[in-house]
Symmetry: D2
Subunit: 342 residues, 4 copies
């Protein structure tokens, strides 16, 4: 049994990590910390875990962290870059579910996140944890930057096209819709039930932090410059991201076949039959991404539909997938639960 810890386990990504790790056959959750809830039972905060998780939240500096093989940071942005280096120096491996190590360019990072970066050297060394793109680097990584939820859905959707050079990489459009859990468990008026239900809105239309992250990886994919317009929206559901992607065709091919071939060996990516419309509930509570490709009226614009559960493939599930790779376990271990429908 590998020993793992969680720093900051009271948000939704933390809660989902708890759910997945408590059911994982090859790891033992040795420690979980929380500044705000230290001393309280985990199952008092998340009664869904009563009878299964009997740990108590420890304070952030818990020594037990250093006895772990691997530590997850499920903290707000700006914490992991402060605390992870000490663990890394002590030989542990780290997966950060926040954004601290997602951009290799820390100058760009500082612009979008509004604070100085505490350790640019680790930002450079960190491996971007999208297994379908970076599998072998993740296996050997000391520090993995777990991707954002939007970037996961958008990048898995665009990858076959952009890697093949089949579309214009300078005019990509990603119109993405997220469930409200993507905003986290913080108490803000805008995310109250009475504000967010029976309502639909865009936000950050002029600029969102996931934009530079997506662009960085798209550029790596196409080996050149990439540019996109990214508009996120809030939709009244708890979980799920639906990305609707638009790309102008540059060279003809059988796009359905391109996708099927690209993901033929990926357990967690399902290319649906031509004409399909993946729904977010087809992946609810599971680590899958389902994708469909459309070409309306045979025109020059492709429409790609890509869905994930933002808390699983978009956060905690992908983190466990990365952990499995890093620890030499089967990549699907502990991640085979079926989606919940209805």
């Amino acid at each position: 049994m590998f020993k793992v810890g969680i720093v900051g386990g009271t948000g939704y990504a933390g809660a989902e990590l708890l759910r997945l790790l408590a059911q994982h056959p090859a790891v033992e959750l040795r420690v979980i910390t929380s500044r705000a809830e230290a001393g309280k039972r985990v199952s008092d905060i998340f009664p869904s875990l009563r009878g299964r998780v009997d740990r108590v939240f420890e304070s952030p500096g818990a020594l037990a962290l250093k006895t772990c093989d691997l530590v997850f940071f499920a903290t707000p942005n700006g914490i992991a870059m402060q605390q992870a280096p000490e663990l890394l120096d002590a030989g542990l491996r780290v997966i950060d579910l926040a954004a601290d190590f997602r951009l290799a360019d820390t100058v760009e990072w500082e612009k979008w996140y509004g604070m100085p970066h505490a350790c640019p050297e680790w930002a450079e060394k960190a491996v971007y944890g999208l297994p379908e793109l970076n599998r072998s680097a993740i296996r050997d990584a000391r520090l993995v930057a777990n991707p954002g939820c939007y970037p996961t859905a958008v990048l898995l959707g665009f990858a076959p096209l952009v890697k093949a050079g089949a579309v214009d990489p300078l005019h990509l459009i990603a119109d993405a819709k997220s469930g409200v859990s993507g905003a986290g468990r913080k108490a803000e008026t805008a995310f109250l039930f009475s504000e967010a239900s029976d309502n639909f809105k865009a936000y950050g239309a002029s600029g969102h932090r996931h934009y530079p992250e997506i662009r960085q990886i798209l550029a790596r994919m196409c080996g050149g410059e990439a540019e996109l317009v990214f508009v996120p929206h809030l939709t009244p559901m708890i979980r799920g991201i639906h990305a609707t992607l638009y790309a102008r065709i540059r060279s003809e091919t059988d796009f359905q076949a391109l996708y099927e071939k690209h993901y033929a060996n990926e357990f967690f990516v399902d290319v649906m039959p031509a004409g399909s419309h993946p729904e977010t509930r087809f992946v609810r509570a599971a680590n899958f991404c389902r994708i469909a490709v459309h070409r309306p009226r045979g025109g020059d614009t492709l429409v790609v539909l890509s869905v994930i559960d933002n808390l699983v493939k978009g956060a905690a599930g992908q983190a466990v997938q990365n952990m499995n790779l890093m620890l030499g376990l089967d990549e699907t271990e502990g991640l085979c639960q079926l989606p919940l429908l209805p």
Copy 2:
């Protein structure tokens, strides 16, 4: 008091017409028909109207229809084209909330609606009932084709750009999201609460009936060819449409000023301040369209956000607005209720 009738009043557009007309100071609802519910009290089907609407549903051929000044068809597609001509010939004026008269090209219509058109001559004469575009023609119209819900949101959003020739009219993208009431009150599994709630999906990505309607009007606006990719989505809310529009800039101008000027005298269209994100609840239950214009990172693509209540400005409210014009009433009569928030 003008005398009006409703043919087919048991769907959501019919219910909303009832709500609006019952509160309208200048008209009297003389007759409402329903094939399925003939003989039942309206308020037994819609108890929200108890104490205010004491009419009984009459059978479709009700003679009383001919005593009206104006008749609304809130029937499924294919009914108005059968029954409206007789009323029109009798000198009544008609507003069809369905799609029968929305396309001037009935060959195109037959392709999308899968049935022969019963009266192409009236399809040609019908006026497309978007007052912000067609006000004076509507005033004199005998037959008004009330626009679809998606077309209303999309066309009001694109109009200033397309009319000004400021964007490429051949590569427009409309990513639209609708509340479930847009699917009507018919019992289909896909629209059950347990299927449609906590879920998000696209549908008709390869072709939707509102596409030819939008394209037809865009072409009129730009006085040439227009082409768009239109992807509708279903979002778990009852009312509301949010259209996210993408257009490639062809000639520079102050786009915020362009919109504000274009709609300066339109009571029902609100151009929000630069940087805004209109939410569907900002227009819930009201006849407004609110619009915001974004230009992410000063790039070459504009993003326009446009929201309406699909049952009001997208259906019954717009129909009453058209009626007001046709009857020589103040255009806003009976349509000044404020949106419901929360």
Copy 3:
């Protein structure tokens, strides 16, 4: 035109007052205050009011308040008892939508609200603002305590039985379900969309502040002691209260007739036909209470179903109804909007 003011207009009751007063033909909203938002435009906080309410939030001590005929307090508990006396002494009339003046017994009040009461003398003089119970006293009242949302639904449901002495007043049960807007617009984790949607729970099962309020009025109704078990629940909808009431029969009568007669002249209370099940959407956005009476299998227990919109008949609408009475206006003025369905 009467001049009215609102103290504390940024919560949901305040927003709903704004919506109703902006459409009221006989009053002019002269001033609205907010500690937190002073200086901001009302329509920046509630964009649904753009184009109709062009006021700016003023600071709480605004002199303009004293120029009003009547002032509403839509503040948190504990504010009106501090600030209303000065306005009352200046000859204004006041309606408090919070709980400060709902209990005549301020010792009891202090126990439930956890603070000393600032003016027991006014608590004694205040009139409980349930027009169907207290109409004539309200007309002459200087200070009206607007009832809580639960008490309104529960009391209107029990009144005919309790006043007639038809049931055991010492073993009443009120199982009540509220939409989330009842919790107000404050940012608390428990009311986040991701916590409150797709979920159902009881709260305060051992004691809720509306319990003493209900019991006090029930006792007045039966002219003796009354006791009830009151269990409130949170249900994932924005607006609406559904109270399911249980009472043991003490003397036989035609209960349907009892209700119909009791409310025969009440515009805002609708006794539905025997066998009905009122739904909260039958009163959504409107000032009605709809009630149905059941007697399962002819047994000894009656079941009464009572629904209101918690923000209208349960708060702002009832406040306007009280205002109409106090100002000598028609009681239904400005309150005749039909419910919103769907």
Copy 4:
């Protein structure tokens, strides 16, 4: 590996059985039938199962059924009583998730279900499948009547009190709230998203089919007569039942201790600490029942709160629990997934 079959797998209980059985380590799903969908792939109807369930729906008379060890009926009421006897006679064991065998008294059954009962002899022999009540009889049963969803929540909540004779068994009240999936996957207007969301209502207040089922088992529990008022409600969530139970105390005891002791050895029943309020999401997607006991103000009425997931402990999960018992497997096998929160 035991071989199991499902008759009627296209409803929600069938879908949930598929989800649970596909992840069960000791059984193999050999056949699944559907009249309506025969010939279609299961994963085309439920795309959430793509890649995991590759079976095709067979027609109802499939011979493969007889090669199973155990067959589940997830059909509408009235089917199992027609088809199960043949399988039982062939030596198979059967679990009926519908109501056909829940009432031993088939005269009563015929009154509530409006059709003649096809095999009263099996109705008499069937074992009521509530393991916490009937564990040993279930182990040996040939035919198990899987309890209704409401009865499961209500009976587990009342059991400790009624069995101990601590409350008046003739005046029990069960105010129950169900998510919409309880109504099944059939297309009816009342369960459309636009009708059922943002709404709350009671239904069947004068009589619901689960009433005789609950009363029958309560009577067995107390060894005498039992009577209750049962009012079901529809609440806008997909899954979950919350039962609020009221009982008049007859003899004093430590009620919290009574519950804790009663369920001390039950893996699937969790008595929460005094003062708790179980929420339906605390058991979402899991086979648990969580219960809390309240005694408001030390009065003579107890309030018991009991929550389950109607599709798991209220249907498919309980069916698998029964199957485990019947097949001699560990009772918790395949049922240990943690609840999904948020």
